[in-house]
Amino acid sequence: MAFEFGLIESLGEERTTKILVRNQDNSGSKIGAIKVANELLNQNVAALFGFSGSHDSVLVGKLVSGKNILTIVPGSMHNDLASFGDAFYTTGHSMDLEVQNTIEFIDRTFPKARGAVIINRYAVASSSAEKILIEKHLNNPRISLKLMYLNKDLNLDEVDLKFLRDGKFNFLYFTAYPEAMVNFANQLEKSNIDIPVVAASSWGLGDSDLLRRFIVNKKSPLYFSTDWIIHSKESKHFTNIFKLKFGKEPSPENALGYDLGKIVGETISRVEGSMTRASVLKAFKKNLCFERLSVGRLCFMETGGHSSIKPVFYQFKSDKSLRIQ
């Protein structure tokens, strides 16, 4: 919806309708993205866009790697996304940057405090964050982190829960998407564990109802990072036009879709001659920076991979307002 909104804004409705080929998988398959991408490739499309989330992004990245077809995914952070060649891009920042940014925030906000990192091994982003934490940050003498893993029911085992209940930790670091943390959030509420939470940037994209319910019931603060600077001029502009079009407040996900639509629209408008895979890729690389997006200016690297955007931290307040840290 927001993607098409951004695309139409750039190309106009008629051209958008003419060039856009849609496909989606509603089977719930974990490899639905591959099936969808394969079908589109078989239709000989000139470029692929979409596939939000690290899981789908990485699957598609592997599929299109080496095929020289421009592929842009919205907001995904997985480090592997930088390894699929110079035709594959994500509007998100890297997981390295995500984790680094979070560790720096923790260092600033909870100096010398002990924290528990909650990892959902079944989520790609969480698993990727775990790998980076183990490789780069757990030996940092300035921070004290203990990795705790959710079980198959996405709950924390009683042994670990007891540590939290006994107040052994001063904060929690959620590495997973909010959808994957519902059971654990309920477990925390039932166990009356209320300690500060530092969430991944995906928490800015997830189900806001869940977040609000969780936050309303919490007394201690919840922090999360996001690429979307809510109170910026560009952000406000996007909010206004979105409300005008759809009659409701946009979500962070809408912003990501809109920005991707704008980037694709601008790229298509740059294409000279017939629209082929090569011409579209060439048009994209003509200028790797894109203006007037909801996040403002966004640039990519020639070699492909993550965008230049840097996440900032916000705190959810109980009055539902947000504040930059």
Partner: protein, 427 residues
């Protein structure tokens, strides 16, 4: 200590061999059937197992493929290992067309294509013969029990036959070889039951009779020879008497004596001839004998009462009149002697029962004890007579047996004796 004759257990061995062969053939047949069905069941199980694994696998395949593609190798390995252990698989792995060491799947492997160039290959645990066999262990136990049962039956039947049939026969043979006489006594000590007991008794009785016949036959030959030799001097004596000048009274007396001797010799000769074709009317002979015997005992306070029931007078038995009269005469004499000179009565009852003539000679004399009764009738056994030779009852019995008749004695000491004779007859 009895020394058993070494007899090969040929029949028993054959019997046992047949039993063991049947058991073994049965065991082989059951085993073959069982093995064949085991393999078929195992093959079917394997196919079902493959289907089941495939259905489980398909539930997880998408997520595993996703993990494989996004590099979540630790989680993928854990889940695949768990799946492998739960389903007793040899291995489970992703195989790509770009995989440089792509192992070619064998027949038992399960290969599921997930993506155009990506498969999940499952190698099932190979099951050897023993494992397949052991899957049916309940049947194995049943088969072993069955075989054990069959072998036990074979063994016990062998032991039973050896004890109940083989050993009595061997002992009987031993007793026949080691005893010229008294086989019947020895046979009583042979442990035998039911029809084997009857068989042993009958055989020993038969054997003893044959032995006796052998002895009497030899005696008969001598008797015939002596009798034959006597006939010549008797003829000479008759000629001499015919021509002698002695007084008529004396000549007549001597002539009667010579005639008597000649009759006795002729009778002895007749006894040794073939008796086939000899028949005599029983009623006529018994009537004559009763007249003679009543005359003989007329002064002895001894009465002979004869009751003949149902005889027409035409019934003939396969004995000469002299043989029959001698036999009954001897038995009447025995009855008289059982009164020890005090006088008494003997009843002779003759009747027809089906195809036989039944003669009962009953006295009320001193009778015999059981132990005497058991031996009476054997050659040389006598009771209550100072000069008894034991030939009377014995010869009567032999005579009756020789024509297919039966002679039985029942006696109670102090009450009397009954001799029952059953004879075949013709009309």
């Amino acid at each position: 200590m009895r020394v058993m004759t070494k007899v090969k257990y040929t029949l028993l061995k054959k019997l046992l061999l047949m039993q063991v062969t049947v058991v073994l053939l049965g065991a082989i047949a059951i085993s073959s059937t069982f093995l064949l069905s085991s393999f078929m069941i195992a093959r079917s199980d394997l196919e079902n197992e493959k289907k089941q694994i495939a259905s489980y696998l398909l539930l997880r395949a998408d997520e595993w493929t996703a993990w494989h593609q996004v590099g979540m190798t630790n989680l993928l390995s854990e889940e695949m290992n768990e799946f492998q252990n739960q389903n007793r698989l040899k291995s489970i792995r992703f195989v790509s067309s770009q995989d440089p060491v792509s192992k070619k799947p064998n027949e038992q492997d399960l290969v599921i294509q997930i993506l155009p160039d990506l498969w999940i290959q499952v190698e099932l645990e190979k099951q050897n013969l023993l494992q397949l066999f052991w899957k049916q262990k309940n049947v194995v136990y049943s088969m072993l029990i069955l075989t054990f049962f069959f072998l036990s039956v074979s063994y016990f039947s062998f032991v039973y036959l050896r004890k109940k049939v083989h050993q009595p026969i061997v002992q009987l043979i031993d007793s026949m070889k080691g005893n010229m006489s008294g086989v019947r006594d020895v046979s009583k000590r042979i442990i035998a039951t039911d029809e084997m007991r009857v068989f042993v008794d009958e055989i020993s009785s038969l054997f003893e009779r044959i032995k006796t016949m052998e002895r009497t036959s030899a005696l008969g030959v001598i008797t015939a020879q002596v009798t034959h030799d006597l006939m010549s001097p008797i003829s000479s004596l008759e000629v001499f008497l015919e021509n002698s000048s002695i007084l008529d009274d004396e000549k007549e007396l001597l002539s009667l004596s010579v005639s008597r001797i000649k009759n006795i010799a002729a009778d002895l000769l007749e006894r040794n001839r073939n008796v086939n074709g000899r028949f005599s009317g029983i009623k006529k002979n018994i009537d004559e004998l009763i007249v003679l015997k009543n005359a003989e005992f007329s002064k002895c306070n001894f009465n002979i009462i004869c009751e003949i029931d149902g005889l027409t007078g035409e019934e003939a038995i396969p004995l000469s009149g002299l043989e029959f009269q001698r036999m009954v005469s001897n038995l009447i004499n025995n009855a008289y002697e059982s009164y020890e000179g005090k006088g008494g009565v003997v009843k002779i009852k003759i009747s027809k029962i089906e195809s036989r003539i039944n003669i009962r000679i009953i006295d009320f004399g001193k009778g015999m004890a059981k132990e005497i009764l058991a031996d009476i009738g054997n050659f040389g056994t006598s009771f209550g007579k100072a000069k008894g030779s034991g030939i009377g009852i014995y010869s009567a019995k032999e005579l009756v047996n020789s024509i297919g008749g039966e002679l039985n004695i029942t006696s109670i000491r102090g009450d009397g004796t009954e001799i029952s004779i059953s004879l075949p007859y013709q009309i």
